[in-house]
Symmetry: C2
Subunit: 188 residues, 2 copies
């Protein structure tokens, strides 16, 4: 009889992680995910997104009983009312959230215990393209800087190697660093 | 004496919008913004971002009395506990929020009244790159689809022209469609 020991490292169920990897190795179609959001404009700069269902691991996911609700708005200096963070600020959160998951899951897979992990992000944006005042500057971030601080008892070199690996496999970092094809269509 | 009439269209103060554009035309340095986020890992896939201050229009913004708090997590099938939407779902919200602002502000500037505006977004992602199981697929979205529905009394052609213009000037769409340089550094 084999006794399986439940192993939780960094809050990650390592056995489930290994099981997920093995299941996808056997059936790569389980790796296909479709994520979704529905967004409604409310007034001025204010909109609200609902995020709930998605397809993945071969089926529709029903684990969320109700949708997550995310507010988007602009600050007064950009004609909004601060009902939520603005869209480019939300990109910073998405990137940090993604790097955090990648760092922690891969640390758990490698047996590295992480005690603390924090990110600071800053992005530079010139508003002239958005306002139609220049076609010499791009509308989006010209540059984005991430600094992270990690507390762990393994050598710094091991943490830096882990971070390098995370950078190669991070979905949101890839979305930001590399082109993603986007189609936009009006429907009735 | 000139009497200025306060004009509000789609919830946008059109006079402030025109004033902002004129101020930046006179002093382009006012268009430089630096947006920021601080993110803390909590446990497993769960992290929390705080978004509050930024620099823009020539000064530090102090309009937000307290930070916006955004949760990030994974669903159980991806080893999380659904404490928040995951990072690539948040990207969908960021894009819709950005397109919404662009559509509504530019509509207001053109005198187009918008009654309703909704977006549906879907992104396709193959998890194998994130899990280190393939270097043949990319970590991020392979494709992203946006459909939008707009209710307005102007002809459809005018709305489609507006949408084309919004696509050229949307910060988040640019960030997703085109490469952004990102630096990531460990600090003590």
């Amino acid at each position: 009889m084999t006794t399986l020991t439940y192993t939780n490292l960094n809050g990650v169920n390592v056995e489930q992680l290994v099981g997920t990897i093995q299941a996808i190795q056997k059936d790569p179609s389980l790796a296909r995910f479709h994520f979704r959001a529905d967004t409604q404009w409310l007034s001025g700069g204010h909109s609200r997104s609902r995020i709930q269902d998605f397809y993945g691991a071969g089926q529709e996911d029903t684990s969320r009983e109700k949708p997550f609700t995310l507010e988007g708005d602009e600050p007064p200096v950009l004609l909004g009312s601060n009902a939520g963070p603005n869209a480019v600020e939300v990109v910073l959160h998405a990137l940090a959230s993604c790097l955090s998951v990648g760092f922690i899951y891969n640390a758990a897979a490698q047996g590295i215990r992480v005690d603390e992990l924090e990110f600071k992000l800053e992005g530079d944006l010139d508003l002239r393209a958005f306002l139609g005042l220049s076609d010499q500057v791009r509308p989006g971030y010209e540059a984005l800087r991430v600094s992270y601080r990690v507390k762990s008892d393994v050598p710094r070199e091991q943490l830096e190697a882990l971070c390098d690996y995370v950078q190669k496999t991070s979905p949101v970092l890839d979305i930001i660093r590399n082109p993603v094809p986007v189609t936009i269509d009006m429907v009735d």
